[in-house]
C-alpha cells in the first residue's frame, strides 16, 4: 500500500547532460526572418514583410522554403504509414477511425480482409455484418492507403499483419516522437510485441505465436495472460511513458535500451512511475544510444 506524495519543490529534475537543445527553436509570434527572399511554408505567416512562426517548434529550411516543424501536433499522415487507431463509428460501407489526426480516418469495407482471409467482392450481407467484424472501441492496426483532399486519411488492412488488436495496452504519445522506420512491428526479445504507430499510438501486447494468429485478429483469445508476460508489458508501458515525458525518440532500439536500463537498476515496475527513476532510466538509455551510434 504505497502512497507516493511529494512536494513539487522536493522533486529534483536532474539536468540531462547529453541532451542538447535543438537549434532554431521558435514560439508562436517569433520573427523567423525579415528577409523577403524566402517562401512561406507550414507553421509560418507573413506580416509586414516579416516571417513569423505560428506554432512552437524548430525552423527547417529547404532552399528558399521555410517551415516550422511543430513539437506537438496532431498526426498528419502520409501514404504508407503504419497507424494504430480506434474505431469511433460504424458507417455506410466504412468505419470511422480515431487516429489522432485532425479528422477521423476512414477504413472502407472494400479495403479490409474479411475473417478467413479469402479475397472477394464485398456483398450486402457483409455490409450488414460490419459491426460483427469491428465495432466501436475496437483497436486496429492499419496502413495509410491514401490521403483525401481535406487531409483525412483512408486506411487499409489488406495484409495479415494488420487488423484487429487483441489483449494488450495502448500508450498515447506525441506523433513527433515516432521515427519513420522500415518496420513498425517489433517482436521484442523480452517477450512482448510493440506496434509503434506513426500517429503516436503505441500498442504493447504479449507476443503470440505466428501460425495461431493468421485470422487478421478476428478470432480473439480472451484467456488470462500469464503474470510474467503481464509484467513485461507493464514495464514497457512505463518505459515508453517515461521516454515520452523526457522527449526521447521512440524506436525499437531506444525502447529496448530503456527497458534494459530499467532492469539494470533493478527497479520494480511501479517504481518507474516515480519522476527520479524515470529520468535515471531515460538518461541511461540515452547515454547508451549515444555511445553505440
Amino acid at each position: 500500500m504505497a502512497v507516493d506524495l511529494r512536494l513539487s519543490c522536493r522533486i529534483k529534475q536532474k539536468p540531462t547532460t547529453i541532451y542538447k537543445e535543438p537549434d532554431h527553436l521558435v514560439t508562436p509570434g517569433d520573427v523567423i526572418t525579415t528577409d523577403t527572399g524566402f517562401m512561406r511554408g507550414h507553421g509560418t505567416y507573413m506580416e509586414d514583410d516579416k516571417l513569423y512562426a505560428s506554432v512552437a517548434g524548430t525552423v527547417e529550411r529547404v532552399n528558399k522554403l521555410i517551415c516550422v516543424q511543430p513539437l506537438k501536433s496532431r498526426y498528419s499522415g502520409e501514404v504508407g504509414d503504419v497507424v494504430v487507431g480506434r474505431i469511433a463509428e460504424v458507417g455506410q460501407k466504412r468505419w470511422k477511425v480515431d487516429t489522432n489526426s485532425r479528422l477521423d480516418s476512414a477504413l472502407l469495407l472494400s479495403s479490409v480482409n474479411l475473417p478467413g482471409g479469402e479475397l472477394r467482392r464485398k456483398t450486402a450481407e457483409d455490409e450488414l455484418m460490419m459491426r460483427q467484424y469491428l465495432s466501436e472501441g475496437d483497436l486496429i492496426s492499419a496502413e495509410v492507403q491514401a490521403v483525401f483532399h481535406d487531409g483525412a486519411l483512408s486506411l487499409h488492412t489488406r495484409s495479415l499483419k494488420y487488423g484487429k488488436l487483441s489483449q494488450g495496452t495502448l500508450v498515447k504519445v506525441s506523433p513527433s516522437l515516432v521515427k519513420r522506420r522500415k518496420t513498425h512491428f517489433h517482436n521484442l526479445p523480452c517477450g512482448a510485441s510493440v506496434i509503434v504507430g506513426n500517429n503516436g499510438y503505441i500498442w504493447i501486447s504479449p507476443t503470440v505465436n505466428e501460425e495461431a494468429d493468421s485470422t487478421g485478429g478476428f478470432v480473439q483469445d480472451l484467456n488470462p495472460v500469464a503474470t510474467a508476460d503481464r509484467e513485461v508489458v507493464a514495464r514497457l508501458h512505463n518505459c515508453i511513458l517515461a521516454m515520452a515525458r523526457h522527449r526521447m525518440m521512440l524506436s525499437d532500439t531506444s525502447i529496448i535500451y530503456t527497458y534494459e536500463a530499467s532492469l539494470a537498476i533493478g527497479s520494480l515496475v511501479k517504481d518507474l512511475l516515480k519522476p527520479e527513476m524515470e529520468s535515471e532510466v531515460v538518461t541511461m538509455a540515452r547515454e547508451r544510444l549515444e555511445t553505440e551510434s
Binding site: L7, C9, V269
Partner: protein
C-alpha cells in the same frame, strides 16, 4: 466522466490484471500513482494548493470572508465548496457540460466535512462573535485535467489548501449598542491557521472484476461497474460513504472495500500531514525568497 471507449480485449486485459494484483502500469491494487503537491501557489488567495496525480490536475483556492453564522449553528464558521470543471479537462465540460460533475463533487466534499468532529475542531476557530460574525471560507476548486480518481485528488488538494490558509486575526473591540466593532490586525503576518487534523481525505475504491482497486486510471474507471467513495480522517474515522456508478456491490465485498479504504486512507493522511509539515518548514526557512514552481 469522459466517453473513453475500450475494446473488449483491452477490458479483459485490465480486469485480469487486477485479478493478478498487477495493473497495467505495474501497480498493485492498493497503490496510488505519484502525487505532486504544492501549496501557496495563488498569491491573492488566503490559501491555495495545486495537486497533480499523474494526469489529474487540480487547483484549489481558499478565500475568507466575514458573514453572519447560520442560526442553527451560531458558534461555527462555514465552508462553501465550489467546483469549476474547465473545458480544457474534457471537451464534454464545455458550456454547462461539467455542471453535474461539479455539483456532485462539491456536495460530496460538503458531506465529508460536515461531521461533528470535523466541525468542532476546525470550524469553531472560525467563529468571531457567536451568532453575529464568523468566517466563511470559499473553497474554489478548478479542475484542469482529468486522469482518473478525481474525487481523491480534489479532497487531498482541499485539505492541503486549508492547511495553508491564513485567516487574518480579528479583534472585537467594543460593542456599543449591541453591535460589536471588529478591528483587523495591522500585522499581515498575524494570522489564524486552520487545524486540519480532522479534515478527511477521500478514497475511491473501484470494483473491477472480483477485486477492487484504489486510484483507478481513466481506463480502469471504464472497466469498473461500481465504486465506493469514503472520506477517511487521520484517525481512521469514516465521515462520508457513498456508492457511485450503476453497478451493485455484494455486502461482503463492501466490508472488504471498507477495510482497504480505511487503511489506505490512514496512510494517505499520514503522508499528507508529513509533507504539509515539510512544506511549512520550507516556507518559514525560505520566507519570501521562495519561488513557487506553479505551472512552469
Amino acid at each position: 466522466m469522459t466517453d473513453l471507449l475500450l475494446s473488449e480485449a483491452e477490458k479483459m486485459f485490465i480486469i485480469h490484471g487486477v485479478q493478478d494484483n498487477l495493473r497495467v502500469d505495474g501497480r498493485s491494487c492498493d497503490d496510488y500513482r505519484h502525487i505532486e503537491l504544492e501549496t501557496d501557489v495563488v498569491s491573492s488567495a488566503n490559501g491555495s494548493a495545486r495537486l497533480k496525480l499523474s494526469q489529474t490536475d487540480v487547483l484549489v483556492g481558499v478565500k475568507a470572508d466575514l458573514t453572519t453564522p447560520p442560526t442553527d449553528n451560531p458558534d461555527v464558521g462555514t465552508l462553501e465548496f465550489f467546483v469549476d470543471c474547465s473545458a480544457n479537462a474534457a471537451p464534454t465540460f464545455e458550456g454547462r457540460g461539467g455542471e453535474d460533475l461539479a455539483r456532485d463533487i462539491s456536495s460530496t466534499l460538503a458531506r465529508a466535512y460536515s461531521s461533528d468532529r470535523c466541525s468542532s475542531s476546525m470550524l469553531k476557530a472560525l467563529c468571531v462573535v457567536p451568532s453575529e460574525q464568523c468566517w466563511v471560507l470559499y473553497i474554489d476548486i478548478l479542475i484542469l485535467e482529468c486522469g482518473g480518481s478525481l474525487y481523491d485528488a480534489v479532497s487531498i488538494a482541499v485539505k492541503a489548501a486549508l492547511s495553508s490558509t491564513k485567516v487574518p486575526v480579528v479583534k472585537v473591540t467594543s460593542s456599543d449598542g449591541g453591535k460589536p466593532e471588529l478591528e483587523l490586525s495591522d500585522d499581515p503576518y498575524d494570522s489564524l491557521r486552520i487545524n486540519v487534523k480532522h479534515a478527511p481525505c477521500n478514497v475511491t475504491l473501484s470494483k473491477i472484476g472480483h477485486s477492487h482497486v484504489v486510484d483507478a486510471s481513466l481506463e480502469e474507471e471504464v472497466c469498473s461497474l461500481a465504486s465506493l467513495m469514503m472520506a477517511v480522517t487521520e484517525e481512521g474515522t469514516v465521515t462520508m460513504l457513498k456508492k457511485s456508478a450503476c453497478g451493485s456491490l455484494h455486502p461482503e465485498s463492501i466490508y472488504e472495500m471498507l477495510e482497504t479504504g480505511k487503511n489506505v486512507g490512514l496512510n494517505l493522511n499520514k503522508q499528507l500531514t508529513r509533507q504539509l509539515l515539510d512544506e511549512e518548514c520550507l516556507h518559514t526557512q525560505m520566507g519570501t525568497n521562495r519561488e513557487p514552481k506553479g505551472f512552469l
